[in-house]
Amino acid sequence: METIILDTNIYSLRSILSATFVFLDDYYIFLDQAEEGKIAVQIKSKEKEADLKKAVDDFKNELINTSLRLKISKENKKIREAIVSSALYGRVEELKTRHTADPEGICIKWEEANNKASKDSQRICESRNNNRFENITHRGFNRSCVNAQKPNYTKMFKSKENGDKSQ
């Protein structure tokens, strides 16, 4: 069995626990407090002929690895949260405020922005509206034609039944 004494000012308890996770499959690990601010890590191999010294060295390396990972995740915490929150709902809010504010006047119609066009001297808008009305009436006419062509099945059945009775 090997014992390592670690300073909690250098390695946090969280990083020590994360490092032990990697070794739980092959080694028995027990933690205890050595002195104030120091943790003793006892490593014992599950197999009799295992190289414990190598395990201790690997553990120390893993400790540095997990400490660095935790440090980076702490540093990037705000950025990570901002990305996630904007991905979930922040983007929608941003779009809404952009449309309502409209500082560059993008949402204003061209006709409203230019007074000349609203006068419509050449009566272009009027003719367009007329054409639209014609289209609507034409469509309505087509629908009535289609309905007229549809066979009335209920009528047919009724007449058949009546015919059968008469026969």
Binding site: R14, L17, F21, L24, Y28, F30, L31, D32, Q33, I39
Partner: protein, 68 residues
């Protein structure tokens, strides 16, 4: 058999969960003092007695770090 788990490293929830997982293998009692959870283990099968304590400690470590 007795295991003393430091309160600054291991937490009560983890200890309780570990006892729950291992209680079918023996009689396990829990008490605590100022700094330690004291876990007393009795009536463990001879075949597993050798590894019981170590396996229990490993599981305790796993559960405690999960509850951190």
């Amino acid at each position: 058999m007795e295991i003393k788990a430091n309160k600054k490293i291991y937490n009560k929830k983890g200890v309780e969960k570990t006892i729950e997982a291992y209680e079918h293998l023996g009689r396990i009692g829990l008490s605590e003092d100022k700094n330690y959870f004291i876990i007393r283990i009795e009536n463990v099968n001879e075949e597993i007695k050798k590894v019981f304590k170590d396996e229990f400690c490993n599981y305790l470590l796993f559960e405690s770090s999960k509850c951190l």
